[in-house]
């Protein structure tokens, strides 16, 4: 079949629903018997609830019930019943489990009422007294107790084994660079707050609308925790108002809403407030040390990258943070370590490209610092140390067009006009700085099933349980399916976000396009083969001797390419097969053999321009060029948007975002969007995206590598490097706020 849609810019198929407000999100499904739940959040970081008085709340007319640890229904006893598909090792948090308080903001009660305002008002009347115990939320204070996590998190590569002798090589290196880096804790803050609507269907059966990146993850959590059969729980979440990782694991509002619905035998909705969005996972704090040794010829002799990240007291959250430093450059002596230290905060969570922008902020800042020590151009330093294979695992790359990304990005940006001297470029009252960095992210494929159904009216439906969290999955799957059968996109419907659909992992890790896309293509091919078989086998078929490669499907006819007058209609083919529709379910899985021999990454070269008003300490990010090598691009329009979105996330990380804890209270204080700053429209200027041509036949059958994460990776480092170029000030702690720009001395 021709590729009419694959590779062409297409508007989103769900665009109309979204611009008319008709797309339903989790907290917008309703039922005649709907009750509203409002969560009461705990006020201390550690200790126990001494008493909880719900009398005043219960006395409010319209209050149905107040759930606390004292009257909650029994749920699964063993803690592993609460472990979802992507849970890190440990014992997952259980809402209302007992009187223990393990983090500030922990839900301590759920007020259920006939309407939202009553629930909110009654929640303010719940009186809780606590016995507080000393807590620690400051990673600096517990760094001495850091440990290597004894149980590795499934799906996350631990730091690779050291190679060579980095310590000796560092000692012998004529040029040395050593520094500490830190990022701020960030909360995902998708625009849609976490929400769950549970519709009570009677007979203990429920339909659940949850803000989740994988409907089947919520379904299996519910069935496991509440002891229900799969057949009684269906999760339908067709639209997700952003998630960025916060919707990978079921959040506590799911547990609370299901618990209340089952107990009250009626429909219940629980929507978290914006401040409660700071009582769940976040990008962890990380104390990083990087040491680089190089020869005068700019060849890297030694790399060391150590990380201590925070986790909760109940789970060992892990993400690949330092690994990038071991794979990105050619170097014979490399050591990377990743330790954890426990804090009395909730467990961190995967947040857009978990680990990579953290680790590469440190590594790519250090590379910039090294370039200055060596007196070489930052791009030249990276090219000098280009790695042709992944030396950390001794595997080949499935493809790696990073060299072309450096070149194309630099050309588009005008890098050759850069005067490397800090403070050398100025316009008006603003210093101008140009910086760059490298980005990388795993290109993965995960086993996914999809179903394709062709009906007599010539319409095709494709379906998988995965999700579209704004990434464009609906659109690209429609493109792939339309191409597979030669249909116009309008004839194809894509269904997602329903636990009853063919099995899919959570949408995350940038693997959905490659995985769900490949599954959809396989299922559609199967349908096409069956259709052709029926058409050819029909009595007196004009296609009796035809080959499947020589026929097309057009206007509900299966016709010879060479002679379109010889055809079989769709209806006749279905009749010949004795069926009303053709349906196929197929599973796409990565090749184990390929995985043994190859590693697959997307790469990027990102260039940033900043303008700094030194008197005000104000930094504007005025220009970004991001050259991305990510295999084949299914839809250049939505793909570009994904990269732009990732870059904006990176600008937020670099310039704005910081969840500030008051360590005396053990609590995030700026838990709202006025004080937790994310980029606003005026913060964002030109962002240019270049997709570098890259042929990859190994990552996935489609040649697709995925785009959800790569846009953020390296962005913060490129901006920090640009700030150094503008001002001569090396800021090693994110975000780059005014106080740091003013307070950091110029490097000598």
């Amino acid at each position: 079949m021709h590729e009419t849609h694959f590779g062409s810019p297409r508007n989103r198929v769900d665009g109309r629903l979204k611009v008319t407000g008709a797309a339903p999100y989790a907290g917008e499904f309703t039922a005649p018997d709907l009750a509203h739940g409002y969560v009461v959040s705990g006020a201390i970081a550690k200790g126990r609830i001494k008493s909880i008085d719900t009398k005043a709340a219960l006395a409010v007319p319209g209050v149905v019930q107040v759930f606390t640890h004292e009257n909650r229904p029994r749920t699964a006893f063993r803690s592993n019943a609460y472990q979802d598909e992507v849970a890190p090792p440990g014992k997952p948090f259980r809402a209302l489990y007992d009187e223990r308080i393990v983090y500030s903001g922990q839900p301590v009660a759920l007020v259920v009422a006939e309407d939202f305002e009553i629930a909110r008002y009654a929640a303010s009347l719940v009186q809780v007294t606590y016995e507080a115990e000393p807590h620690e939320t400051d990673l600096e204070k517990v760094r001495g107790k850091a440990y290597v996590p004894p149980v590795k998190r499934q799906g996350i590569s631990p730091p690779p084994k050291p190679r060579g002798d980095s310590e000796a090589a560092f000692g012998n290196s004529p040029v040395k660079m050593e520094a500490g880096y830190r990022i701020a804790i960030e909360h995902h803050n998708p625009m849609e707050p976490h929400a769950t609507t549970v519709v009570w269907e009677g007979d203990e059966r429920i339909t659940v609308h949850d803000k989740i990146q994988g409907a089947q993850n919520s379904q299996s959590y519910i069935t496991s925790v509440f002891g229900l059969p799969n057949s009684d729980v269906r999760v339908i979440s067709p639209f997700v108002g952003g998630a960025f990782g916060s919707g990978l694991r079921p959040q506590y509002q799911l547990f609370l809403a299901v618990m209340a619905a089952l107990e009250l035998k009626r429909s219940v909705r629980v929507v978290l407030t914006r401040d409660q969005m700071f009582t769940m996972g976040y990008r962890p704090d990380g104390l990083q040390e990087v040491a680089l040794g190089a020869n005068q010829d700019a060849s890297l002799q030694s790399i060391r990258h150590d990380l201590i990240a925070n986790t909760s007291t109940f789970e060992d959250y892990q993400e690949a943070t330092v690994n990038w430093s071991a794979m990105l450059y050619h170097c014979d002596n490399v050591t990377t370590t990743h330790k954890l230290a426990t804090t009395d905060l909730y467990t961190p969570a995967d947040m857009r490209a978990p680990g990579a922008p953290t680790g590469l902020f440190a590594m790519e800042s250090a590379m910039d610092e090294l370039a200055y020590k060596l007196g070489v151009d930052p791009v030249a330093l990276r090219l000098r140390n280009y790695a042709d294979i992944d030396e950390s695992t001794n595997k080949y790359h499935t493809s790696k067009e990073l060299r072309a990304a450096y070149q194309l990005g630099a050309e588009r940006f005008g890098w050759s006009k850069r005067n490397p001297k800090p403070r050398s470029m100025k316009e008006g009252r603003e210093l101008i700085g140009w910086g760059m960095a490298t980005g990388a992210w795993e290109a993965q494929m995960a086993q996914t099933s999809a179903r394709a159904t062709l009906t007599a009216d010539g319409r095709l439906e494709v379906a998988t349980a995965s999700a579209d969290i704004g990434t464009g999955t609906y659109t690209i799957l429609t493109q792939i399916a339309a191409d597979a059968l030669g249909l116009p996109m309008e004839r194809v419907t894509t269904k997602l976000g329903d636990s009853s659909l063919p099995k899919s992992p959570v949408e995350g890790g940038s693997w959905t396009a490659a995985s769900a896309g490949s599954a959809v293509e396989l299922a559609c091919h199967k349908v096409w083969e069956t259709l052709f078989k029926y058409a050819r086998g029909m009595d007196g078929s004009p296609l009796a001797n035809a080959d499947i490669d020589r026929v097309t499907f057009h206007d509900e006819r299966i016709a010879l390419v060479s002679d379109p007058s010889r055809y079989v209609t769709l209806n006749d083919a279905l009749k010949a097969g004795g069926v009303e529709k053709i349906e196929a379910e197929e599973t796409a899985a990565p090749s184990k053999l390929t995985q043994m021999r190859y590693n697959s990454f997307t790469h990027s070269a990102i260039f940033a321009e900043v303008r700094v008003d030194e008197e005000l300490g104000q930094v504007r990010v005025t220009r970004i060029v991001d050259a991305v090598a990510a295999g084949r691009i299914i839809n250049p329009k939505t793909a570009r948007s994904q990269i732009i979105g990732g870059v904006v996330f990176g600008i937020g990380m670099a310039m704005h975002e910081e969840s500030m804890a008051d360590h005396n209270l053990g609590r995030f204080m700026n838990h709202n969007l006025a004080e937790y700053h994310v980029p606003a429209n005026a913060d964002i200027h030109g962002i240019e995206v270049i997709f570098v041509e890259e042929h990859d036949t190994l990552t996935s059958p489609l040649g697709v590598k995925g785009l959800g994460e790569i846009g953020i990776v390296g962005t913060a480092a490129a901006i920090a490097n640009a700030v150094f170029h503008a001002t001569g000030k090396r800021i090693r702690e994110l975000p780059i706020t005014i106080d740091k720009v003013i307070g950091t001395p110029e490097a000598v």
């Binding site: 959040s41 108002g241 914006r274």
Partner: protein, 180 residues
Amino acid sequence: MADLDLPARQGFTPDAPSAALPGEIPLTLTINGERRELHVRPWTTLLDLLREDLHLYGTKKGCDHGQCGACTVLVDGQRINSCLALAVSKDGCEVTTVEGLAAPDGALHPMQEAFIEHDAFQCGYCTPGQICSAVGLVQEGHARTPDEIREQMSGNICRCGAYTNIVDAIEDVLAKETAK
């Protein structure tokens, strides 16, 4: 071990918790061209009235504090954060939500078309607010340059980061308006 007696939630803790609820107040609103006689409690925001009572879920709740703009609607032609407006304070007003922008025959508003064409959204959750805000911005007539659009659209947060495309979409509509 210190004993702490803290209210469960910071903020509103009434001296004498009262079980009595405020009564309902009659209210007339014209919503998307349709006149509605309503009864609401004084504590109900315009946003919650639209979503929970009238099931017009197109208007989104992102923060409930006027900090994100997801709840932007047009009241008598002006863009406001509907989460910051008590419904009873808008008696007699004309409210246009995202559901009311398209023509009765389903033809999209030019701003809706432009948002689709420029891919000015991803997850779609901030989109109704962005579009209502952009329609209000065009009517205000103060924004002409991309910098002015950026500044005057900064009350609407897009976490997916579609800002550059949002500016392109609005510029497109502004250019067509000017050409008329």
